[in-house]
Subunit: 203 residues, 2 copies
Amino acid sequence: MARRSDHSREQIQQMALDAARDIVARDGYTGLSARKVAKTIGYTVGTLYLVFANLDELVMRANAQTLDALYETMLATKARCKNARACIMALGRAYIRFASENTHLWGMIYEHPLPDRDAIPDWYRERVARNLALVEDTLQPLAKNTSAQELAVAARALWGGVHGICILALTNKLDVVGAASVPALVESLIDNYLKGLTANRQR
Amino acid sequence: MARRSDHSREQIQQMALDAARDIVARDGYTGLSARKVAKTIGYTVGTLYLVFANLDELVMRANAQTLDALYETMLATKARCKNARACIMALGRAYIRFASENTHLWGMIYEHPLPDRDAIPDWYRERVARNLALVEDTLQPLAKNTSAQELAVAARALWGGVHGICILALTNKLDVVGAASVPALVESLIDNYLKGLTANRQR
DNA sequence: ATGACTATTGAACAACGTTCAATATTATGC
DNA sequence: GCATAATATTGAACGTTGTTCAATAGTCAT
């Protein structure tokens, strides 16, 4: 038996999250199980339930870490682009790249069903909001004469759109073959949407 | 025991698909199980595996029926709209409505993991292609001077985008609260994308 | 009526999430 | 240093899942 106090609760939590990350990266969301995680970190299932309420919580915390990693990537991308238009485009490409390089981890965010809106914990909601805010900020200079409300709409429409192309393409649901690459689709979406948005402003 | 030849294989298949549809509509994808389906149609699990290779196949066939229903809805929508621009917008709204009214059935299409691209059966791929072709056809008049290649890209970019907004919003992942309604987001996406697309043409 | 054929069953298996009495290990008081 | 309280950890247990397959029940041809 693992000796008591070999690791603190926090340590076990992090070990479990790391193990889950490895398992999911290798076998995907469907390959994840409580027993596999427990075995990997050298504890038994019981301990896992002492530290997490259930698998749901473990998955959500793992997803939060993935959202953090995505945020870091996008932040770094935003730091080294020129104008707003190029920045949005760079963010789109960064999103694709992240999704392609971390397919399973990124996919788990969407394969795992979330509870009802008001049951989503704040620490999770904040992660989502932070990523969206980054897009909103980047979009800001392109929409100087539009209201905050319209900016929020634009950011969500655009980002939802980018995400849609990614998820359909990466899960083989867009029949992309013979049409174009995923980046080409995303670039088309962003390019034309921004054209429309800025034309709007000048009318 | 159910008497032999009470139903043909095809009948049992359809009964199972109908049962699955009801179960999923009520309890969602996670509420679906082979035993529940079997019980509903008055047979046992064994029979289900005589008629379907596995649950995967049952789910994919159910999804194919959902894609058919979606196609019918969109076809009817396209039949009663005026110009191309209005038609694309109507299709977008029809997609949202279908997704909202059949959340669980529509959601199962995306919650259920598809096999590798080349392992997707033709009868499934055709369903996807048919829906996309409808969008492409509707988009056609707006892109007279663009190549078939560009048209394919536009249809996929736009439709992936519409889908992305829907799936994120309906699964509580877009933080829509306080921003705008889903239809508003979709309308923004379509409106601006089409503006950009047609401006492109005139340059 | 008998035998061949097959549709149908239901028990069995391994794996799943989850719980909790039992136990092993440490900390505390004397 | 020893007994006792406290608790970290276990692992068996429960009900569920997808899937398989020997056994059986029902039908058909002769």
